[in-house]
Amino acid sequence: MEKLTVDAEGKIVIPPEVIQKRGLHPGDELTLIESAEGLLVYQGGVDAKTSAWWNRLDDRQRLLAEEYALRDENLSEHERDASWNQEAESIEIEAESDELDLSNQLASCSTKA
């Protein structure tokens, strides 16, 4: 991660080592993504895990993924938040019955060994 400084004309300079590492050339386009979270200078490209997942999908699965993704994108932010906050785990004493005793777990480990 690099820190960039905005000059008086609103320009930022990308350090030469980053230009070289990313294979950037004059005229290449970068996307500036502005959101509530901040700003992101984005070159495109995808991280290794996401890329590996996408590359494993065949054409039919990619179409299916797009269809499901559209449904997901059509949810409101509130609906999306709610779906990710389901089954919030209680911290109350009454909920403790599902906790596992560490001594028993270690004992069962010894038995298995």
């Binding site: 996307t31 993504i33 959101s35 700003l39 895990k49 999908l57 911290i91 909920a95 906790e99």
Partner: protein
């Protein structure tokens, strides 16, 4: 963090640019996967993923293991709320010390990775007091629990700074 990793994949399927948090989370996740022995999620996250679209969720579930709750996890979570953590944040932090991997019989994690900068900063700021309270609690538990430790809490941005 897992939510943003999932959403990054949704954005890719739509050929839309991701958000800052999605990029941070997905890149951190990819980096951690190359250096960590195991990636863990909470039971709640695992349950949520199991109900979501399989094509996006199944690979994340396959990459990770869901931690179970060891005894005293909630007790520690309640104590963490005394340090002004929400109950949702407190239980995640408590998983970091009392989360049990039943397969490998290990407990706790080295680090919790979050996109929540405020959570990480607050944890860091109060770490001395939290550690004191944690040690006080552990010393009064059965001997098996003496091995428990507090996790680090790192932001996805901090992970990317290590790359």
């Amino acid at each position: 963090m897992i939510r943003r990793v999932y959403e990054r994949r949704v954005r890719l399927a739509l050929a839309k640019p991701p958000t800052v948090l999605q990029v941070e989370a997905a890149n951190s996740y990819a980096h951690i996967a190359t250096i960590a022995n195991r990636l863990y999620i909470t039971e709640q996250t695992a349950n949520i993923l199991k109900r979501r679209t399989e094509i996006f969720a199944a690979p994340i579930l396959a990459d990770t293991r869901a931690l179970k709750k060891a005894r005293y996890l909630r007790r520690w979570a309640r104590r963490l709320t005394d340090f002004a953590f929400s109950s949702e944040d407190a239980i995640v932090l408590a998983y970091g010390s009392f989360g049990l991997d039943v397969e490998s019989k290990t407990v706790g994690v080295d680090a919790i990775i979050t996109t929540d900068i405020r959570l990480a900063e607050h944890y860091e700021r109060r770490h001395g007091e939290i550690k004191h309270r944690f040690d006080d609690m552990i010393v009064n538990l059965p001997e098996t629990y003496a091995v428990l430790r507090l996790p680090q809490v790192l932001t996805t941005a901090a992970i990317l700074a290590m790359v």
